[in-house]
């Protein structure tokens, strides 16, 4: 393993106050993620997976602790720099795909390139290339509502890849898919991880989905329970 971690999480904690009680969504997590790794984060719902992703993606600020991406302390970035980070460095994949309903598959994939400052035509070209890569070359003009769940998630994967991010955060990417489709989506993520050397961090509560991971981080009640190196 290379010495410089791509993401470093130090004593990370995020508490929420809900109806007067403090909820410790994350409570002192230390983790390192290296370039090109495929890491699965496993834990029951409420174990802090999504909170961890929100903090790594700079969507949320920690109560305590630090997140470093490429050596940069996220606490020192302003809203503009965080938006840039989310746009260029990190790709998101969600459980329920979260595609834009009025845009075609092609336009959905091209959308992040707009934020990255690419001319629209170039973005579309890149999007088409990626949709072919994920096997949807014949579905470019379809709206999300005209695609199956598995196809929608593949569009979301292409969208997450389009700005050539270093990191992909996949929060329960198979949670809304049947078992077979879920396995194929994981297979696709692992292929992209190998071919494109993008670091993938995939949260799941389904232990079936952790095969082929470089490491598995087990979370429970906001803490790291154990880390398995495969």
């Amino acid at each position: 393993m290379k010495s410089e971690p791509l993401i470093e999480v130090v004593d990370l904690a995020r508490y929420y106050e809900m109806a007067g009680t403090i909820i410790k969504a994350l409570d002192g997590v230390n983790l390192e993620f290296y370039r090109g790794e495929y890491v699965s984060i496993v834990g029951p719902s409420g174990s802090g997976k999504t909170t961890l992703f929100n903090l790594i993606g700079g969507l949320d600020r920690p109560t305590r602790g630090k997140v470093y991406v490429d050596g940069v302390d996220l606490a020192e970035l302003d809203a503009y720099e965080l938006a840039w980070l989310r746009c260029r460095k990190i790709g998101y994949i969600f459980q329920n795909f979260n595609l834009i309903g009025v845009l075609t598959a092609l336009e959905n994939v091209a959308l992040p390139t707009v934020f990255a400052g690419l001319p629209w035509e170039e973005g579309l070209k890149k999007a088409e290339e990626l949709l072919r890569l994920v096997g949807l070359g014949d579905r470019l003009g379809h709206l999300p509502s005209e695609l199956s769940a598995g196809q929608q998630q593949r569009v979301a994967i292409a969208r997450a890849m389009v700005n050539d991010p270093d990191i992909i955060l996949a929060d329960e990417p198979t949670g809304n898919l049947d078992h077979e489709t879920g396995r194929r989506i994981i297979g696709l993520l692992q292929r992209l991880n190998r071919e494109r050397e993008v670091t993938i961090i995939a949260a799941t509560h389904d232990v079936e989905m952790i095969k082929g991971s470089d490491r598995v981080v087990w979370l429970r009640d906001g803490r790291v329970e154990k880390i398995e190196v495969k």
Partner: protein, 180 residues
């Protein structure tokens, strides 16, 4: 991280805004309500009225048209923001800044205002010709007509300011937490 930020220009806002207007059921409702209000406005604005009492009466009618259009537009825009909570959160996840979201919604309002105003002028003009014998084509109050378009656009934008502000302030983690 080089201090650079993300981009979303006017052209991008028009492109995405047009997709939303084409793809969503709300837009026709917006455009229809602006059309009706502007038609009414244009009709009244084109009326020839001699006496002072009738002029005051006309001013009242015009104000009612403006208020009705603004309130319905604001309502529909707010609903449109609520319905798009998740998508707005996604845009922010993909790199949209607050002001990008704001720009998108204002541009949507602008487009709807222009379309609605255009249809409204036409409707108002036609109904004036049909019903108002005192108006002939030569005596058309073109100032009144063009002020209709300006007004419809203005109503549309002003009544969208608050909905757009609400959308801009959305916190993506709150929005994306609503998992089905």
């Amino acid at each position: 991280m080089n201090g650079d930020s993300t981009h979303f220009g006017l052209t991008d806002a028009f492109r995405l805004g047009l997709r939303y207007i084409r793809g969503r059921g709300q837009a026709p409702v917006n455009i229809a309500s602006i059309s009706l209000a502007s038609a009414f406005y244009a009709y009244i604005a084109l009326m020839r009225m001699g006496t002072q009492t009738l002029r005051t009466y006309r001013l009242w009618l015009l104000s009612v048209a403006v208020i009705v259009a603004a309130v319905s537009m604001a309502t529909v825009m707010l609903i449109s923001v609520y319905e798009r909570y998740r998508e707005i959160g996604v845009l922010k996840c993909l790199g949209a800044l607050d002001r990008h979201v704001f720009l998108l919604l204002i541009v949507e309002a602008l487009i709807q205002g222009l379309i609605g105003g255009g249809i409204g002028i036409l409707l108002g003009f036609i109904s004036t010709l049909i019903s108002n014998t005192s108006t002939s084509l030569t005596g058309v109050n073109y100032l009144g007509l063009s002020s209709t378009l300006l007004l419809s656009t203005l109503i549309s934008i002003v009544s969208s300011l608050y909905p757009a502000y609400r959308a801009m302030r959305l916190n993506p983690i709150e929005v994306l937490r609503y998992e089905v």
